[in-house]
C-alpha cells in the first residue's frame, strides 16, 4: 500500500519558518506510523528528526499530531487512519526544537513543583525499610489507573487551557498530583496544596476532556483532575468552618524480620 506523508519540518539553524516535506512510502498492513517514519528516515531522508525508543507504547517518546489529532506514532497503525494522505506535525503547546522534536523542559519543571513522590514522616523507614505497608485492593484501585502515566505529553498538547495559559500546570502534572495525594501511603497533600490550588492550578481545567480523548494509556486525566478539585474543596471547607482537616487512615506496616542489615563493603 502506498501512502503519502506530509511532514512538518523545521531546522532552527536554517529555516526561518517551518516547511513541509512530502514523501511517498510503501507500507505493509501491520506497519505503524513509527515504522513508516523510520523507513523514510533510513531510506529516503536521514535528516528527518523524531524521538522514538520503545516502539510498544510504553516509553512515551513518539507523541506527535497525526492527521490533526495527538497520537503516539508507535501506537497508531497506518491502516486505522483510513487515509492515503497522512499529515504529521510536532506536538502543540511545546516549543519545537527540530522537525518533530519538541522541548519538554518546562513540563518537567512544572512536574517537580508539585512534589510527585510519596511524602511520609517516617524517614528512616523510607530509606531503610523493615517491612511493607499493607494495602487492600480497593485502596490500590483508587490510584492505580492514574499511576500509569508515561509522560508522553499528548494531553498537554490537546488541552485548550495550556494553549493559552503557559503557567497552567497541565493535565499530566495535575493527574500526577492526584495520583500521589490519594495514595494511602502519602501524607503530603497539604504540601502540594499551595501549588495545585493556585490560580494556575487545577481550577483552570474546564472539563473539555481533550486530555482523556487523546490519552494512549487509558488514564483519563479528565477524571483525576475533577477528583482533585473535590479533594481540595472538601479540605478547604473543613479547614474554613471546622478549623481542622481530615486525618488519613494510618497505613499498617508488616515487618519482614528475615531481612538482614546492609553488608559492609
Amino acid at each position: 500500500m502506498k501512502v503519502t506523508f506530509k511532514i512538518f519540518r523545521f531546522n532552527p539553524a536554517v529555516d526561518s519558518s517551518p516547511r513541509w516535506s512530502v514523501y511517498e512510502v510503501e507500507v505493509d498492513k501491520s506497519a505503524t506510523i513509527l515504522d513508516a517514519l523510520l523507513k523514510i528516515k533510513e531510506n529516503i531522508d536521514p535528516t528527518l528528526t523524531l524521538r522514538y525508543s520503545c516502539r510498544q507504547a510504553v516509553c512515551g517518546s513518539c507523541g506527535m499530531v497525526i492527521n490533526g489529532k495527538e497520537r503516539l506514532a508507535c501506537f497508531t497503525r497506518v491502516l486505522e487512519l483510513n487515509s492515503n494522505m497522512i499529515t504529521i506535525e510536532p506536538l502543540k503547546n511545546f516549543p519545537v526544537i527540530k522537525d518533530l522534536v519538541t522541548d519538554f523542559t518546562e513540563l518537567f519543571v512544572k512536574e517537580k513543583t508539585i512534589k510527585p513522590y510519596i511524602i511520609r514522616r517516617d524517614l528512616e523507614e523510607m530509606m531503610k525499610p523493615v517491612g511493607m505497608y499493607l494495602q487492600k485492593e480497593e485502596e490500590t484501585l483508587s490510584y492505580l489507573q492514574f499511576a500509569e502515566c508515561i509522560e508522553c505529553g499528548l494531553c498537554v498538547s490537546a488541552c485548550p487551557t495550556v494553549s493559552i495559559d503557559r503557567l497552567f500546570l497541565t493535565p499530566m502534572v495535575l493527574n500526577k498530583a492526584y495520583r500521589f495525594s490519594i495514595d494511602p501511603r502519602d501524607e503530603g497533600f497539604e504540601e502540594r496544596l499551595s501549588i495545585i490550588d493556585s490560580e494556575h492550578g487545577c481550577w483552570r481545567c474546564h472539563f473539555a476532556l481533550a486530555c482523556s480523548n487523546v490519552c494512549p494509556k487509558g488514564i483519563d486525566p479528565g477524571k483525576s483532575i475533577q477528583y482533585l478539585k473535590n479533594m481540595i474543596t472538601s479540605h478547604s471547607l473543613l479547614e474554613l468552618f471546622l478549623g481542622r482537616t481530615k486525618k488519613k487512615k494510618k497505613t499498617e506496616l508488616l515487618e519482614r524480620p528475615h531481612i538482614s542489615s546492609e553488608p559492609e563493603i
Binding site: P46, S53, Q56, M127, P129, K136, E151
Partner: protein, 571 residues
Amino acid sequence: MVDKISTDIVIVGSGLAGLRAAIEAAGRGPNLQIAVLSKVHAMRSHSVAYAGGTAAALYPEEGDSFELHAFDTIKGSDYLADQDTVELFVKLAPREILRLEHWGMPWSRKPDGRIDQRPFGGHSFDRACYAADKTGLHAMQTLYNTCLKYDNITFYHEWFATSILVEDGEFKGFTAIEIKSGELHVFKAKAGILATGGAGRLYSFTTYGHSATAEGMAMAYRVGIPLKDMEFIQFHPTGLVPSGILISEAARGEGGYLRNKHGERFMSRYAPEKMELAPRDIVSRAMMKEIMEGRGFEGPDGLDYVHLDLTHLGEKVIDEKLTEIKMIAMKFAGINPVNEPIPVRPAAHYTMGGVHVDIYGQTPVRGLWAAGEVNCSSVHGANRLGCNSSIDCLVYGFLTGKQAAEYASKKNNPGSFPTQLVVSEEKRVFDQIFHGGYGEDPYLIKRELQNTMSEKAYVFRDGKGLEEGLRKIRELRKRFGTGKVNDKSKEYNQNFINVLELDGMLEVAEVVVVSAIARTESRGAHYRLDYPKRDDVNWLKHTLAYRTPEGPRLEYIPVRITKWMPTERKY
C-alpha cells in the same frame, strides 16, 4: 574548547539501575552533586518495557528462602554464576522490593494486603513481585519521581555520552554530546556509574527498544576495561511476530501454553516437569527445534512461529493481570488473546555478559562502577532467570550508588585532569566522524549487522556459521569506515548519534562472535550444534575480552563456587 561541568558523581544511563543509584547516592551524600545523563528523556529508558515481575524471597514463612532463590539462580545460570555474588544478591533483593513499595510502587496485592507474587520460569517458588504486567513502567515512574525529591540530582535529558576519561587507572569523567545543541561537554567528576543497559539491538528480531545500542559497553571496552561473557545472549521465547515486541513471561507464569502447529504442548518433550516455566534458554531452544523440524507456523520474512495460547485463562485474568499483553497483541498483531493464540518466536532479550566488575559492581578502573545489564557481576552466568534482571538492576544500583557516594565524599582532591584526552575525543567525534566521516550508509550497515547476528549467532550456533559471521562483521567494519554522517546540521542531529551508536555496536558485535567461537561447549544460552555438551572440565570459566587493534584478545578467569557443585541441569 569544550565546556566543563564539574560535579561529584556522574551516572550515565537512566534506567532502573541508573535511577536507583542516583537515589542511593543522593540520599547518602546530601552535599554531593549527582548528574544523571540519559540519551533519551530520563523516564523513557527501556526499563519501562519489562513487564513480568521482580524476584525476591519475601515470605520465608511460606517456604521461600535466600538459599532457594540462590540455588534457582545458579542452576538457571548453568553453574556459570559466581556463587558468592549470587548469595549477596539474593540477600539484598527483598529490601529493594520494600523500598520501591515505600516510594509508591503499585505492586499487585494479595487479598490481605501483602505484596502478591506470581510463578516465573526456572523459579521453584512463586517469587515474582509484580504490578499487573506493567511492572517496569511503574518501577521506572516510581524511581524517576522519587529522584525529583532530591535537589542534588540533576537530570541531563538527551545527552549522549561518548567516552570515559581514565587516567592512570583512575576515573576522571565523561565526555558527552548535548544532543539538543550538538556540542561536546565534559563532565568532570570524582566517581562515575555506568548504567547504560544491554546490547540487544545487535539483533533485528529483538524485544529491545531502539535505544539499547550497547554504547556503554563499547565505551568501557575502548578504555581497556574487559567485556566478560559476551557470548551469552538470552533469547526470550515469546517475542511477538513480526515486530519482536516482548510478550512477557507473565503470560506463561499465569498459565499460558505454548503450542505447535498440531496444537501439542510440545514443552512436555523438553521439560516434562516445569513445562512452559522452564528457564528461557530451554524454552527458546525447544521452540526453535519445533520450528526447524517443521512443526511451527510459517511467518512473514522467514519469521516462523509457534502459538502462545492464553484462551483458557479467561477474560478476567487477562484484564486484571495481563492487560499490557492484551494491548500489545490487539494493537500490534490484531489478535485478541482472549479468543486467539498469539504468534511468538524467540527474540534477543538480554545480555548476560557485560563490563567486567567485581562482586560489588566495581570495574577495574578506580572510581568507576557499573550497574544493571551493562555490568557482568555474573549473577546470571550463562542464562538469566526471568525477573532476576530487574532486581539485579535495583541491587546493583543500590550497591554502586552507596559505594560511589562513600568514595566521592572521602575524596577531597580531584587530582589532575586529562585535558589531552578531551582534545583527542573532540577530534575523534567531530573531525573524524562528523566532518571527515567516510563510508557506506550507516543504516544499511546496521541492517546488515543485525541480519548477520540474527542468522549466525542466534539460539543455535555452530563454528562455521560463527566464523562466517565474524568475517562479515569485519567486512562491515571496513565498509562502515569512520562512519558517514549525512545530516550536517548541528542541532538535534539524530543521524550523527546513530552513527556513533553503530560504531560501538560493531565493536561489541565482534566481541560477541569472537567469544562465542572460542567457547567450544554448550552452556545456558550459548548452544553450539557442533559441541552440544556442557564441558565443566575445560569451560567452567568466564571469558574476558580485551581490546587490541587486531580485535579482541581473550582471557579466562575461574568461576567462584561456594557450596553448589555443578550437576546436570534438568527441569
